[in-house]
């Protein structure tokens, strides 16, 4: 049983992995441990979990214009999420990091993915067409 949600494709490429839903905004500088991908920031809904290999679903990014560098560092350490889905419009720095690290990204999906997607659900993201496919 699969279904699809349409969003805005931001960074092209396709990737699949289990969903990790974080309800709070994420700051790539500080909220994640680069060497493990573990969420170390004060993000109650996802603290202690690893973003490595997941489709990371979150509302928006906060903070530094240096976010791109930390996303790229996750990639260089092999601890990066395989795809990004954000509820809000994209952040230029994160988009640049995602392009550099070949991480597909979709923004502004047409349904509230943070409320409806459960952690661990298999998700496939197509950053070109903006299609998010649930339950592979």
């Amino acid at each position: 049983m699969t279904r699809t949600i349409q969003g805005r494709g931001i960074v092209r490429g396709t990737a699949a992995g289990p969903a990790l839903v974080c309800r709070e905004p994420i700051s790539f500088l500080g909220d994640l441990d680069i060497t493990t991908g573990t969420i170390i920031g004060r993000l109650p809904s996802a603290a202690g979990q690893s973003v490595k290999g997941t489709v990371l679903i979150f509302p928006l990014t906060m903070g530094s214009a240096g976010a791109w560098r930390f996303l790229f560092q996750l990639y260089k350490h092999g601890t990066h999420p395989v795809a990004l889905v954000t509820r809000e419009p994209p952040d230029p720095s994160v988009v640049q990091g995602a392009i550099l690290a070949n991480i597909p990204m979709v923004c502004e999906p047409q349904e509230d993915v943070i409320a409806t997607i459960v952690n661990g659900t298999p998700v496939e993201v197509d950053g070109g067409s903006g299609v998010i496919r649930l339950g592979a």
Binding site: G66, R69, F72, Q73, H77, S93, Q96, I99
Partner: protein, 423 residues
């Protein structure tokens, strides 16, 4: 998105692999932000290739190896080690050698390897209406707000813009976004660069990514004060542009700054707001400190003169470490002017290419373990900049003691922390 014939030629690879890669990234960025076309830029302040981050210097080397060159004048942002005097900072030699490789790559690509967060003091001075790009938010806010150039707060893609000479037209490249959002009534009289830094930190927190319009300065702020104000606005908030009517081109009046619109919000900056920022960043309650730092953002020659004036003929207390950070270009000017000799005679170390938060002190970085980087166990750093203070807290993860420049020098001379004395 409307692309020129030249843009298309870059995109299809007929101008080489580096330009194809760069243009492909810029087009994706432009589509993400609804840009209608690309603008030609006149200047780029680009990523250094940072030795404290895994494979980051290699990223620049790979671009250079792919034949990337700068299509426009380009300066290079701050790096992770003093590439000449690293021993003075206690950095591992392997880290400094890796940082030197980034300099070689930059030279190959034709960028001016300035390794500084204040390239304008090193002679990179874009003028009114010049579209540009910058990886350093301090440079973005200075060039937008003091010089009237047009820049977004950028990330790595400042490099891609430098390679192509193009950037998607969105954000602060559109005049419709260069309009005030918040009216700021300055009800205090900041008298030092540190006061302006605290003022910026206070206002940045309130306006976020807005465009604050300042009213009520009793005199025209100096270039150093505007630099400190902008750096702090860009640190506590996401400010890319502030407007001081009569100073920021082309805004002659408050009405013009708001383009006839009603400001979203009016806020004030009172003496207690400035004092609050100083207090917040005086977290080392026992007054112990390991280092006194001057020069955030990297000092101008005027600031070097002021430090030399405060330290001339004196000697810092035994056991105190005093760092003055400035670009290599300004360091060379200061050397010729005899200022370096004065500062070193007083016991100060003049550090270039880096600063406390950018060097091997940072715990938020992720260097290759082979470099042997071990951040020293620092307890507190005395600073005169709210920007440095925030990142000492977040990146070095130690306490701070924020004070004025003269008081910081007095701290170094006496070995005892001197809090800021309000004017």
């Amino acid at each position: 998105m409307q692309l020129s014939d030249d843009d298309k030629a870059m995109l299809d690879g007929s101008q080489g692999e580096a330009r194809r890669l760069a243009m492909d990234g810029l087009v994706q960025l432009g589509r993400a932000f609804g840009a209608e076309d690309m603008v030609s830029i006149g200047y780029a302040h680009i990523h250094a290739g940072m030795a404290m981050y895994l494979h980051d210097v290699e990223l620049m080397e790979e671009l250079a190896a792919r034949g990337a060159t700068m299509a426009v004048p380009a300066s290079v942002n701050i790096a992770n080690a003093d590439t000449v005097n690293w021993q003075q900072t206690g950095a591992p030699e392997k880290l400094a050698r890796l940082q030197q490789r980034a300099a070689s790559a930059q030279n190959k690509m034709g960028a001016s390897c300035s390794f500084t967060c204040t390239p304008y003091w090193a002679g990179h001075w874009p003028t009114w209406n010049t579209h540009m790009t910058s990886i350093e938010s301090t440079v973005t806010v200075f060039c937008n707000s003091v010089l009237g150039a047009k820049s977004n707060r950028d990330g790595f893609f400042a490099v891609y813009a430098g390679i192509t000479g193009r950037y998607p037209r969105f954000g602060y490249h559109l005049d419709t976004n260069r309009v005030g959002t918040h009216r700021v009534r300055v009800e205090t009289t900041p008298t030092t660069v540190s006061d302006f830094s605290c003022l910026g930190f206070h206002v940045g927190r309130l306006v976020g990514e807005g465009v604050p319009v300042f009213e009520g300065f009793t005199r025209r702020p100096t270039l150093d004060e505007l630099d400190a104000l902008g750096a702090a606005l860009a640190t506590s908030g996401g400010v890319a542009l502030f407007i001081v009517p009569g100073v920021t081109p082309p805004y002659a009046s408050v009405e013009q700054a708001f383009a006839g619109k009603i400001p979203r919000e009016s806020i004030t900056a009172a003496p207690r707001d400035i004092a609050t920022v100083y207090d917040e960043f005086c977290s080392a309650k026992d007054g112990h400190f390991d280092l006194v730092h001057l020069g955030c953002p990297h000092a101008s020659l005027e600031e070097m003169k002021s430090y030399a004036g405060l330290l001339a003929g004196k000697r810092i207390a035994d056991g105190v470490e005093l760092w003055v950070t400035t670009s290599r270009a300004v360091r060379n000017e200061a050397l010729a002017a005899g200022l370096v000799a004065t500062l070193e005679a007083a016991g100060a170390k003049i550090i270039s290419d880096t600063c406390p938060i950018s060097c091997h002190f940072a715990r938020s970085a992720s260097p290759d373990p082979k470099l042997g980087v071990v951040p020293p166990p620092l307890r507190a750093i005395v600073v005169e900049s709210a920007k440095q203070a925030k990142y000492v807290r977040d990146m070095i993860r130690c306490d701070t003691l924020l004070t004025g420049t003269a008081e910081a020098v007095e701290t170094a001379l006496t070995g005892r922390f001197v809090p800021r004395r309000p004017a």
